[in-house]
Amino acid sequence: MNPEPSDAAEGPALVLNMGNDPAAIDEARIALVAFLEPLGVVAPTMNRVEVVLEELVSNPIRHGHDVTAITIAADYREGLIDLVVEDDGAEFDPLAKPDPDPFTSLAEAPLGGLGIVLVRRLTCAARYDRIGTGAEARNRVSVTITNR
């Protein structure tokens, strides 16, 4: 885990690089909370940020067997938190899958796909891009969360 607070107005304010390591998710979370807390991010928003981070980072770790590197970038501007998670795994758009059908009973309830439901509903914007080419290709998920 290498926090890299950037010194210029260019680029995100916080960049965290981690390997494909489940234990590193909590280190990333702690670093992100330490970055956002002094900026006035309120407790309910912080919980939403932590849940969204958890879902976006645990997804490539659990499913992306060829993922070796994950980068988390965060920024805060005018009441909005921008969070970007990139990985170097094979092309995969987690936002492509539709939400599970609504359910009214335990038997109908889905056991999968709830992470992306949380990402969609706890953010005000979420998009996927495949960036770069060849060995530099990355999956990038960018989300914005309102501080409220």
């Binding site: 309910p44 939403r48 335990l106 709830l114 949380l118």
Partner: protein
Amino acid sequence: MMDMQFTDVGGVTKAVLVGRLDSFSVGEVETRFVANIVPKEQSAVVDLSEVSFIASLGIRMLIGTARALQRSNARFAMFGANDAVMEIIETTSLGEIIPVVDTEDEAIAAVSA
């Protein structure tokens, strides 16, 4: 890290979860959680008052356990969730299929009705 305790309250299994129910913790505790509840084939209540965080894998563990109990005609309820955990329970619609109440007494009543 997650800690768990299990007791029997008049024929209802009571599970107390303590800590963060994130993806890493769920991987560590899910088998023990299920193994202490499902084979007893009796209704269960879960105390969430000391759970500070939950994400999708934690929700999945709760749904899976409730569903397994249902096959034995046993019920499942939860109580004491803080605001942060409650928001995630509501966002995933979990509260529509598993009773989520304030107190242990209400949870016991919900599975005994």
